[in-house]
Assembly symmetry: C2
Homo-oligomer: 308 residues x 2
Amino acid sequence: MTASVRVCFFRWKWIVYPLSSIFEEFAIKIIKTVKEIQTRSEMLRKEGRVISFVPTMGFLHEGHLALLREGRRLGDDLILSIFVNPTQFGPGEDYESYPRDFEKDFELARKEGVDVVFTPTKDELYGDRFQTHVALESLTKHLCGLSRPSHFKGVATVVAKLFNIVKPHIAVFGQKDFQQLAIIRQMVSDLDFDIEIKGVQTVREKDGLAMSSRNAGLAPEQRKTALCLYSSLVKSRERIQEGEKNASALIQEMKVYIISRFETEIDYISICDPDTLDDVDKIERPVLIALAVKVGKTRLIDNMIISP
Amino acid sequence: MTASVRVCFFRWKWIVYPLSSIFEEFAIKIIKTVKEIQTRSEMLRKEGRVISFVPTMGFLHEGHLALLREGRRLGDDLILSIFVNPTQFGPGEDYESYPRDFEKDFELARKEGVDVVFTPTKDELYGDRFQTHVALESLTKHLCGLSRPSHFKGVATVVAKLFNIVKPHIAVFGQKDFQQLAIIRQMVSDLDFDIEIKGVQTVREKDGLAMSSRNAGLAPEQRKTALCLYSSLVKSRERIQEGEKNASALIQEMKVYIISRFETEIDYISICDPDTLDDVDKIERPVLIALAVKVGKTRLIDNMIISP
């Protein structure tokens, strides 16, 4: 009896083990603790494998997938983090209502060849006595930094943490969040992180609307209205290429164009230096035009680098 | 002719090469650039070697040597940094006059078995557009943080940079700078640096004065006076062990004791919780007594953990 049970057991293993390893091949690894991912990355680095990293707040769309593809292309091991970071939301902002769909995210990540998804809890990243922050002085005093004064302190801090946790060689960010990308690059340079930062072009819907998790919050009419961010940028590009050099005049035209739409509220429109984000008066070199507009309750951003 | 020159050349190499490698054995490696030390550390980590790190501002004394010995004991490869960090000195503080003696430091480091000394220039660490800082909220609002408001922001930032540059497994700090050690530990925990922080007991002169590079600035009479920091701590320890529980009463006694000395000026005397640095009223658990006193123009600090 004992013998036959044992035989049966071994036979069972012969079937289950190979099957489970096939499933593992297709399954994506989910890691929730700092210690586990640090240990794993340390091991990979020792083996000489290049780790690429895409930090996100989840609710993945085509824009994120473009980042993942770039990460996949550049690294041997691709890590995606999904963490809706509370410290980058100001009071009254949309932290609670920020869209989340982990299951769908895991499935999309798997299809893009992500090796590991790091999804820590809030408590895993912010202990009781948490009190350290990373802040930048001048780059944050522009664009979104003005209406969201603590936003980039939250972003820089969580990204510094994630860099120390994930230990990547390369990290990939979208150019849609242009100021965020500039801040991350500056932080990496200032704090001497030995990490290469790659920026990826904004991915747009067919009509030009920049992909964003927040687009999910737009009602059908608002979705149409939202296009005014992109079309105002395109119009400005035409005007600059026709020879317009006066930044204030262009900003005024964009304001009029956007504010005439139903349910829009402009946070800012800025024409600035792409490196320092300082305002530009006369357009004689490539400039960044960036804007943030609320459509209903949904705050949207977009930007374009335009050469005269 | 050509042949004999060639033979001569090879013979020369046979003599010079082994000799130079013997010298290298005894020479200490000085590295000045971020890139070089990052590349070296990355290679060592790949080889599985444990890197220990002692960051200093140089002008090494027995206190630093104790840190180096601990670093030597704990790591396979010991890196010392010497950098008088301008951003941790406030206006009117002693940045310019801070004592420096690189040659002597290199010699001491060599004797302690240091593998590499990292001595960057100011420009190597702080580029033109430098604008990022690391700051802590509550631990810095005590002790030295009150009279030196930007000091720990400078310390935390440069240590974060050095950690990213040197990439150590272990970093060693002295308990003489107790608040600094507490802040580094908190920063490491909050920003998820995968680095073990070791604290080393204060090394004292025979009479009890805590070793400090700043002691070099004391005139002979001031040197005698300086002992009052340590002796006031010893007296307080006795009083606590006799049963004194009233922190304010003890602080008052220390004040009277110190201020009666010639040329002393008290910055602070604090009895506080060793973890949070919050003031303690009634001494019922181990407390930290910490003080900062100016003797002439030289600002000295000392501290002791005392159990009731």
